[in-house]
């Protein structure tokens, strides 16, 4: 665009007495008028009032201003309001600057009016200097393909497929196994509702199969993922046959697997030592078959086997095992009322309402709970009659108990698939210490990745029960739907720009950027505006000074640096800083 001389309009606000009561506003205005590039200056009681806004608009027209500085309060709350005024008067919003002389001046220097006034002058001068270097910015847009790829055909994947498909989005549901259903296929009954897992599963599988918007790819693996939000190119692999398709968003619902406690409590030595999932399989075969196998007299379930360990990856609590144990214990008790069922635990993780209630029911059903500590885990040794002797120190009772059991069940944690690491590289999204997928923000972005357009749900994100997995499955459906419903994403105006002549493709920026916004193409860095969040870490890091940050350019910041402390008002505008060479070069 044609560079026109900056004509800065300055509006100094009294904010009632909040500023005016401390800072000598007229003096500031008088001073401001002496500054270079200032074409107009005035003061208002409340610049943010409807009246104040109108005066700004009027002044822009009247004095053909192309930069606006308001000296009042913090930009964090008021910038949008004043930018609005500029836009209405035909000035690009990024040509507006706020000088914060309230929060950072009048309110904190109430007892020193003179000094505060001096400081206010400096603050406004800095703003004016910066304003002179401001450039108009546009928030560009990237088109989004209203199609989602869902990796993993477990109950989470199935649920979010349905939710998205029902909203009219196309869905590719990719499952590496020949059958949909994932972990739920391995489970007999569900807690706390005591339903038959297979029945529930059938229903939802039928629903996805019959949905016109859902394209199911079983026995299929993802080979590669290229592109970025709105424009991913997927290559899928089905028995050596490749298929390629485009999607706008990617949802990771790959689930988790049960940890196999090899070498623990004789798991791989004695056939009467099972994991909970093994037990589920046994139970699935029905009571009559189990009777043929044996009628348990005494059963011991050991919690936290291979979980809550000293060191990662399995330092975590697997969240669901306690309820699984309670559920299966009660089932066994129901089938074999005469049997004794023990749950040997560290802390019963029966949180919330239903689970606590179930825990209580289990105790009433005479399931026996024995507390052990990490320092003093139970021992399992075989007996001649192929039963097993479980020796455990009941920490709360302070005595050793010996239980001769004909079945020992180990509650082991859910762990990440081996294949996950590969997928995380493919998608450029991180895994945590626990090897589960790591979300953008533990608190407020539980199902997003830092990289836009990619989401995670269910046990791929960490152990959780069905209800929690489905909450997340629906959650990702909402998160992914936004860009797809809009058919586009707005990109930040404040983004990095790479000067390809200076860039040597050292990949420093690519390494630093947590959002994957820098991609190296033909040995040079390119910024994907759709992904850049505008923090400027790369710009500050670039040794060739090839990266500039829009709206926070070196010129703009330097202008502030130089004008922060001046004993007398400068007569010339600040010259652009030469940022050609690197320090020490």
């Amino acid at each position: 665009m044609a560079e026109q001389e900056p004509r800065v309009g300055v509006f100094v606000c009294h904010c009632g007495i909040n500023i005016g009561g401390v800072v000598n506003i007229p003096q500031v205005v008088k001073y401001v008028k002496t500054l270079p590039n200032v074409a107009y200056a005035e003061d208002n009681i409340y610049t943010c009032s409807a009246e104040g806004i109108d005066k700004i608009k009027a002044a822009i027209k009247e004095h053909s201003l192309n930069r606006v500085v308001v000296a009042s309060c913090t930009p964090r709350t008021h910038e949008p309001l004043f930018r609005g005024a500029c836009v209405d008067a035909g000035v690009n919003p990024y040509l507006f600057e706020l000088a914060n002389i309230r929060e950072h001046c009048s309110w904190v220097h109430m007892r020193e009016p003179e000094k505060a006034t001096e400081k206010a002058k400096d603050i406004v001068r800095m703003a004016v200097a910066r304003a002179s270097f401001l450039k108009p910015q546009e928030e560009s847009e990237v088109p989004v393909d209203p199609t989602a790829l869902i990796i993993g055909g477990g109950i989470s994947g199935i649920t979010s497929s349905l939710c998205l498909a029902n909203q009219g989005f196309k869905v590719y549901l990719v499952e590496k196994e020949p059958e949909l259903g994932g972990m739920l296929r391995k489970i007999y009954r569900l807690y706390p509702t005591d339903e038959d897992a297979s029945k529930v599963l059938e229903a939802s599988i039928r629903a996805v199969r019959n949905h016109k918007n859902i394209n199911i790819l079983t026995s299929t693996n993802i080979k590669s993922v290229d592109g970025y939000i709105g424009n991913f190119e997927i290559t899928a692999l089905k028995d050596n046959g490749e298929s390629k398709f485009k999607v706008g968003t990617v949802i990771v619902a790959t689930g988790a697997v049960e940890f196999k406690p090899v070498g623990m409590y004789g798991y791989d030595k004695y056939d009467r030592v099972l994991t909970q999932v093994d037990l589920e399989k046994v139970l699935q075969s029905g009571k009559s078959d189990v009777d043929k196998f044996f009628k348990p007299q005494r059963v011991a379930m050991i919690q936290c086997v291979g979980a809550r360990e000293e060191k990662p990856p399995r330092a975590y609590c697997s969240r669901i095992c306690c309820m699984v144990a309670v559920k299966n214990a009660m089932l066994l008790k129901e089938w074999y009322p005469e049997s004794e069922v023990y749950i040997i635990y560290q802390d019963m993780q029966t949180y919330g309402k239903d689970y606590e209630e179930h825990h209580r029911k289990a105790r009433v059903a005479d399931i026996k709970f024995i507390n052990y500590t990490k320092e003093n885990p139970p021992q399992v040794v075989p007996l001649p009659d192929n039963r097993l002797r479980v020796t455990v120190y009941h920490a709360l009772l302070g005595e050793k108990r010996e239980l001769d059991c004909d079945l020992v069940v180990l509650s082991t944690p859910l762990v990440q698939h081996e294949s996950a690491r590969e997928l995380s590289k493919m998608l450029k999204v991180p895994l945590g210490q626990d090897e589960f997928f790591l979300e953008a923000h533990v608190k407020l972005r539980p199902v997003d990745f830092a990289t836009d357009g990619i989401y995670v749900c269910g046990t791929a994100h960490g152990p959780k029960d069905i209800g929690e997995s489905l909450s997340q499955a629906y959650a990702v459906s909402s998160r992914a739907a936004s860009p797809m419903a809009n058919r586009k994403v707005r990109t930040e105006a404040i983004t990095a720009v790479v000067d390809r002549d200076r860039c040597v493709g050292c990949r420093m920026c690519e390494r630093l950027c947590p959002f994957g916004a820098h991609r190296i193409e033909e040995g040079k860095s390119t910024v994907i505006d759709a992904l850049c969040k505008g923090c400027g870490v790369c710009a500050a890091a670039c040794l060739r000074r090839a990266i500039t940050m829009r709206h926070f350019t070196d010129d703009q910041i330097m202008a502030e640096v130089k004008t922060a402390f001046l004993t007398k008002a400068p007569t010339q505008p600040e010259a652009p800083t030469n940022v050609g060479g690197k320090i020490g070069e």
Partner: protein, 543 residues
């Protein structure tokens, strides 16, 4: 029918009485065969409990023979014997067995003759009197599962299955704090692990005060007191029992009262001037005060004053209460000591009597009677009785202006919440209302009061020991620290136990603990100038 042959149990001292009996033998002096002889080294060894036991087990008479005054091989044993026999005679009269069925004789080693004649004479007298009315047991059909309930069912019924093993009970229990070997939590957990024997043989089973503090605080409201009561029944069914205080005299008395044949003379305490009625609306259930009065007079507790004060107050309020000629022990202590069978008998007979009297309200001065009549009788035998504790009844009377205090009682007073009245029954305000309504009286609370009050250290006459004493001293010190002149309690047993502690050798300075203990109704009677009790504090000081 054949002539009645009385059964006589003879306790003979080794040096005189027994030797005398031998001499009778060597001199071939014949006497009736009715006596069975038990040798003791000294007549001083013979306890009231032995004698009561003999009668419980069907003896028609008991003979105690010792050395002549001054001749005692152990100097003064026979003097103690005399005192005890005296006491026991009074109890026998109350029970309606009759003091003449008990005989104390001085028989020296030289008095074979005398021995023989005493036997003859006693046998004849007893033959004349006829058999001990309480001799024969009557069969009752018990509704209470006396030890038949399974541990699991007990745990279920008392909600102990909900236990979260959180330890709130054990960190509250006053006994556990003194004796970590006992802990409500561990008791429950053993039971949960199905360790039946461990539970029933555990000494701790008998240390519990059933003071309800653990239950009060238990987040799951586990009925620990009930759990203990049932387990004790189960244990005693297995022949296990704890050690009972006072050699079980009080249990014997209760068991004897459980006999339908019993015809007591328990109303002797009623003052001449007092007015009582045969029928009416209000029944005053005095409980075992007349017996306590005998058993504990040696520690200077005049328990009967409680009853007398109450009666006078009622009269002042224009009420002529009904008193039951043959009122029986409510059974509270037996039930908490594991003898549910006798408890059931007592309960049924009391219920019948009360129903018969046709009263609309029953008033008790004892919180244990109160709980038992109001809760247990209702829950276990479906007897819906309108029962009020004295504190409630009095505060109503005061509220209705039926009792007016003229004149002040300038006393600083602290109040001991009895476990049964407070935590068991939730009565905290009534007694306080009564106290504060007395002109001049200032109520100062101890740090642990109401729900958190500390028990007096013994309940159901079980296992009074070191820890009980410690608790009593601790509590008395707490009371003394309030600078109160009086420690008022609404339970005769608190009064007994605190006084008992004060009578023994104190581990601390007297002035730190020596506070006068006074029952609520006695306090009210005093405020109405109806009575005057000797001041405990004085008594101790000049000991």
């Amino acid at each position: 029918m054949p002539e009645f042959e009385p059964k006589i149990v003879g306790f003979l001292c080794n040096w005189c009485g027994y030797a005398g009996a031998d001499l009778a033998g060597t001199s071939r002096l014949s006497y009736p065969t009715n006596i069975r002889i038990i040798r003791v080294m000294c007549s001083g060894r013979v306890e009231p409990a032995f004698i009561l036991n003999a009668f419980e087990n069907g003896a028609d008479g008991v003979l105690v023979a010792g050395c002549h005054p001054g001749d005692c091989h152990y100097r003064s044993g026979n003097q103690h014997a005399e005192k005890r026999i005296e006491k026991t005679k009074r109890l026998l009269d109350l029970l309606g067995i009759g003091s003449d069925r008990l005989r104390l004789e001085w028989i020296s080693a030289a008095e074979g003759e005398k021995f023989a004649s005493v036997i003859k004479d006693f046998t004849e007298k007893l033959r004349g009197k006829g058999p001990n009315p309480l001799g024969r047991e009557l069969e009752a059909t018990p509704v209470l599962h006396n030890g038949t309930e399974s541990i699991y069912d007990i745990l279920k019924r008392t909600k102990a299955l909900y236990c979260q093993e959180c330890g709130k009970c054990s960190s509250s229990c006053p006994i556990t704090r003194l004796d970590p070997l006992y802990s409500p939590r561990l008791a429950v957990e053993k039971a949960l692990m199905g360790l039946q024997d461990a539970v029933l043989t555990d000494k701790g089973l008998w240390s519990c005060l059933t003071c309800y503090l653990c239950r009060q605080r238990c987040p799951l409201d586990i009925e620990y007191d009930e759990l203990i009561r049932t387990c004790r029944a189960k244990a005693s069914a297995k022949g296990i029992s704890g050690n009972c205080a006072h050699e079980g005299v009080l249990f014997s008395l209760s068991r004897l009262m459980a006999n339908p044949e019993t015809r007591q003379n328990r109303l002797g305490w009623i003052p001449q001037e007092a007015e009582i009625a045969k029928t009416g609306d209000v029944l005053y259930f005095a409980g075992c005060l007349p017996y306590f009065n005998v058993v504990f007079d040696d520690i200077g507790v005049k328990n009967i004053e409680i009853a007398q004060s109450m009666l006078k107050i009622l009269n002042v309020a224009g009420i002529k209460p009904v008193l039951m000629e043959n009122e029986r022990c409510c059974g509270h202590d037996l039930s908490f000591a594991g003898d549910l069978e006798s408890f059931e008998k007592l309960a049924k007979m009391n219920i019948a009597e009360i129903k018969k009297s046709g009263v609309s309200t029953v008033v008790t001065t004892c919180p244990e009677c109160y709980r038992t009549l109001k809760v247990d009788y209702a829950e276990l035998f479906g007897a819906k009785l309108e029962v009020l504790h004295a504190s409630e009844f009095l505060s109503n009377l005061i509220g209705d202006g039926k009792i007016k205090f003229n004149g002040k009682l300038a006393k600083k007073v602290s109040y001991q919440d009895p476990c049964r009245l407070g935590r068991h029954m939730g009565v905290y305000d009534a007694p306080r209302k009564v106290i504060t309504s007395i002109p001049g009286v200032e109520l100062v609370e101890m740090t642990r009061n109401r729900e958190g009050a500390l028990c007096c250290g013994v309940s159901a006459w079980m296992g009074c020991g070191r820890h009980s004493k410690q608790m009593q001293i601790e509590r008395l010190a707490e009371a003394q620290a309030t600078t109160a002149d009086l420690l008022v309690t609404a339970c005769p047993k608190c009064q007994i136990h605190f006084n008992c502690a004060l009578c023994e050798k104190l581990p601390v300075k007297k002035e730190e603990v020596a506070i006068e203990i006074c029952d609520l109704s006695v306090l009210v009677a005093r405020a109405l100038n109806l009575t005057q009790t000797p001041n405990m504090v004085e008594r101790i000081k000049n000991e």
